[in-house]
Subunit: 387 residues, 4 copies
């Protein structure tokens, strides 16, 4: 397997909670022992990862006293230093504790909302302390089951208030931290606010400091709703808002599966890798996934290695795609670059009247074929190595 061996230059990162997932699900209990964050760092470094990410409580148990907190940070930082690993992203757990059962920033209880914002502030401090440049908000409990229980407009207002306040907090500290909102349509709530990349991007445009906030799209989350993930990421890139990304895999219309990257829908995984590799995105390739629940502790590292291996294999296919004359000819036949050309330019009365004066022979224009079957088949051939 020498070909697809990751190195730090590949910028692969994993959440501590991913390799550390103990397998609790709605119908079953823990199946793997707790994983020491230090071991996570060490093993991931050995496999070729560049960094780890974490929720506050992945590193520091809920309610730990300051000295214990410091001890845990110190030994974690030591492991990072020894392995050359980084922590480019951190986040705060605003979902596990029962207090968040009705939401964090959008709980109907103002006391909970204040507690949540304070917890996020401390999470930001922790991130700054460990050198993170991105802080992710996944509002998993920001939602509802009973439609009459919250006005969604109120919830959006509270969500905005929280993010604006936290932006103020970061700005005051002259921190490099930027925020990335991670949308999800449902689970654990019946419906979650900011359900898709689109809703999150729009929400950001309504903030006081939109320039500080981007998105952290996750393959599984858009896929739950059956949306095209590559298109969601493209819209974020188009707006300059792809601040981070969560890679995994998932089948449409199911519970949150968080499978190994590339385990489902290889064509979409390829198109995603091609997009990331050619778009100038320079951030981490972050895996937010976990090993199948029937794995033992060692299987977790097979899982982690597999995420990176498949990414690299697809990145190689991506370069092959761009280099292949046959594929480029098929792209030309499909007029792919034609879509990069302006249609009418900026409006002017002259442009308008010129356009209206043209003879648009629709029947003639309709005769063209777009040769998408051949192009798509060449993608399949490329993936299968069937050349």
């Amino acid at each position: 397997m020498s070909n697809f061996q990751p190195t730090k230059a590949d910028k692969f990162t994993f959440g501590l909670w991913t390799v550390g997932w103990q397998g609790v699900d709605p119908f079953g209990t823990f199946i793997r022992p707790p994983l020491d964050p230090v071991e996570a760092v060490t093993r991931l470094a050995e496999l070729g990862a560049a960094g780890v990410t974490f929720h506050d409580n992945d590193l520091i148990p809920f309610g730990a006293e300051p000295p214990e907190r410091q001890r845990l940070i110190d030994r974690f930082r030591k492991a990072l230093t020894e392995t050359g690993m980084t922590t480019p992203m951190v986040t705060t757990n605003l979902f596990y504790h029962p207090v968040f059962k009705d939401g964090a920033f959008t709980s109907n209880d103002r006391g909970v909302r204040r507690a949540a914002i304070a917890k996020a502030m401390r999470g930001i401090d922790l991130g700054a302390e460990l050198g993170a440049s991105v802080y992710v908000f996944w509002g998993g409990r920001e939602g509802l089951e009973a439609g009459a229980a919250k006005r969604a407009g109120d919830a959006l207002e509270r969500y905005r208030e929280a993010i604006d306040f936290l932006c103020g907090y970061v700005r005051e500290q002259d921190s490099v931290i930027r925020f990335a909102i991670e949308p999800k349509p449902n689970e654990p709530r019946g419906d979650i606010f900011l359900p898709t990349v689109g809703h999150a991007l729009h929400f950001i445009s309504m903030l006081e400091h939109p320039e500080m906030v981007g998105v952290n799209p996750e393959v599984a989350h858009e896929t739950i709703a059956g949306l095209n993930f590559v298109h969601g990421v493209s819209q974020a890139l188009w707006a300059g808002k792809l601040f981070h990304i969560d890679l995994n895999s998932q089948r449409i219309g199911r519970f949150d599966q968080d499978y190994r990257f590339g385990a489902e829908d290889l064509k979409e995984a390829f198109l995603l890798v091609h997009l990331l590799e050619t778009s100038g995105y320079g951030g981490p390739r972050h895996f937010d996934a976990h090993a199948y629940r029937n794995e033992d502790a060692e299987g977790v590292w097979e899982f982690a290695a597999g995420c990176m291996r498949t990414y690299l294999a697809l990145a190689a296919k991506s370069r092959e795609f761009d280099a292949s004359e046959e594929i480029q000819a098929a792209r030309a036949a499909a007029l792919v670059e034609g879509l990069a050309e302006p249609s009418v330019g900026t409006y002017s009365p002259e442009a308008a009247s010129a356009l209206l004066g043209e003879d648009h022979d629709l029947d003639r224009l309709a005769g063209r074929g777009y040769h998408n079957e051949r192009l798509d088949q060449l993608v399949v051939d490329l993936l299968l190595g069937a050349r």
Copy 2:
């Protein structure tokens, strides 16, 4: 049935294509005869509707010569005048003709894109001529099946170019027309650009004249992706962007069904009506639906009457909801109004340090129940009249 008899004050409108749907589907041919737009106007007026809407080609067949065009407009306008009906919204058919098989504003063929923009300009003229104030863009063909065939970023760029150009055209004419973008996740394309209300709202924020453009959300379209429609509409209202709305019903994760309003998911239909009736939305209640395909021509009017009747029945329930002391007490127990209260206010160093200095006793806060079962049950009781 005297209680739920619509009047023009209810602002119910129907697309000509809805009552005029002839039942072609992917597996079967026409099952109802063509419906004369004048008959549509007359029958809908008799049933209590306030107006009709149309695509250019619903009124004027593709390729009609100017005199024929004028004749058709004249007799249509005469029917409107005689019945007191209005045409608050118009749109352009950019999907039926084979020329649009690869898209309209985002076809890979620049000639098609130019033809589409010109057709939209003429559609806008027709709308202005008939007094429309909203012009809808439903980009049904703006998408793809083969992921490699279009870069989505290019598509968004072309989409923006087209809308910016058309905004320029409207501004030049001192028209009252505003645009409303109608998102849809898929069908007829495998994936459609601007798949949800969120993506469309964000797209609007990227335009040259965002103030001229809002959204036209459709129940069925968000529901195909399993998204909460009430939340989508709420986000649009929150942003001041609900310019129009398409009412119908649909089951999640299926082909586009466009059923009679209220035929599916009565609780969500109720929550939607409650939102519209209490949010200050003053626009049309527009039905974009059609009669079941096994209806004959007369059944179409049962369908149309049913859409309005169910809306009115739910609007009555909505008033009952607001008037019921029992329900208001349940809302109070669920802290619904608590979410309207600011959590922390605007950021200041003082506010931040006050917040961090508070003792947030999470375990105590976690003890509260939110009484959502009782509130939701009261909604069900209200709907069923089970009091």
Copy 3:
């Protein structure tokens, strides 16, 4: 609320695990304290339920010694006696313990399979001891995530072997117990074997003693796959195989929500109640649902009362449906009873040649409308009390 007060004659039952659900989900921990089975029996009896059901480990903790087991059974039985409650159904927990992470009857490890069958035998004994007449198999862990890890044909063979063996065990004991298989498409496994009512019914037809085995369809499970639950139950009834039923509610294409009966899709809930009330089904109306996670301990009883209340309200609508002359006229116009009439009878050469000799004027037959809009609108009117 005097009208919809349940009594034991209504045969409402609840799983101990439903009111006892403590709210663990993939992203959060316990939010409600454990519920003593005796309290569950008492409270449910007060609310009007007729019985409870349970998994072995709902009553008897995993690994309890025989004396403790007996003590727990005795006090539980005492509570039943004092309240007049019954335990018509029992089942075995073959999913919570880590040993079942790869399946129970279909684990790839033969040792696990044997342990699972032995545990089911003891569960059957416990059921017999407490007078249950139905024993349910929900094979939540019988499935896979990695398609290459099991041949589905092997899995079906092992599943059949287990059920055949357990049928043998029951037959030997002259027990009245019959088995009911509960299908589910996915969650907690990526894909579960016997994913729908149809697959389970077919599986039963392949058993050694098909007469001993029926199905236990659950609203949420068929709905996850977007299937029509009423049709699934109808197919089971058609085959004489509706041995038990799990009532709750759920949105299509999501994680398993197990909401209060009637909380979602009131029209389908009505059609289901109408089917159960008119089909001769005499078994329990069993609720397999739980209170929203943001409820406190008292909210659980609101939830339980709501399940029964909505069922009774819909049962009243069901009687109204059958009694309404207007609705019966609409049914006649839709030719509903026409479908109960034989089309051609049993095959004979004479019948065949008579049929082929007829003049089937398709165009004339095509002219008929089926008046489904009116019928469906009357159902909506009935539900909303909009008459």
Copy 4:
């Protein structure tokens, strides 16, 4: 592309309606000209297909007089003879004509049901005339939108009556024809009866001559409901009921897409090919798909070639899978063959008491890992050629 060139031995067949699809969809009209069945035969033969299949009206227009019918059959048969192509399967169009808008065998109108059965009899005659051995029933219109409009039990009864009658007809003629039922969950009807492979298999078990009837599963149809297609086919094979198969691709939870085989979900496509190639299934590999709608007439043949090419590429991977020592070792580590071993054998009191007497140490058994990550990654590596 010399490697994956199909030959008649590969048994690839196409429906005339697949390559002949003219692109009508709910929002657009014809985009490709009609295709002469003779040209379809010739072109497909050149590409390496072994046969074609058809609905009666694909070959013989609705209402054609006997001489015209004969002429069309003769020239079609001539094309078959000249090319060595076969027609292993035929079916009857019971969905396109308006008469079937409420169903065919389950229309509420008895006259329609009789007409449908007669049309099927004539379709069977046509199939026999052309040497078909399988006759498919796809009941696309057998369903409903308004739940109160049909009792599903009545519908199943009428469905059974029709199939029993047609079995009688075939038996009388000493024909080799066997029936294959093709399930689908929805589209064009809101809900279709016999929605999945499971429901159809169970229905067959209720027939008078179950031995004459099997299933024709279609990738797209099970996938619409998000079911695991390989498991559905496996259950059919397990029951000896895989009489035919429809290959294509589709995304979950969407309108019926009928994409080129392998265009979506390559891993599932691989697992399916592996199953078909190793299960002893000897029937046609039948493609029921169509070219993307933005293709011109020539693109159709790219599409057809692609279906076969991808199948052959995956069949080669399938052989590689079975030959690879690394993969077979990973299968052994995952205990795949362990599932083929009986768990407990046939019931006997002795076997029962031996089993109950064993010490099942669940905690020890729970310690095992199933190594599914490695096995699944090897499948991905195999598909990508990343070895």
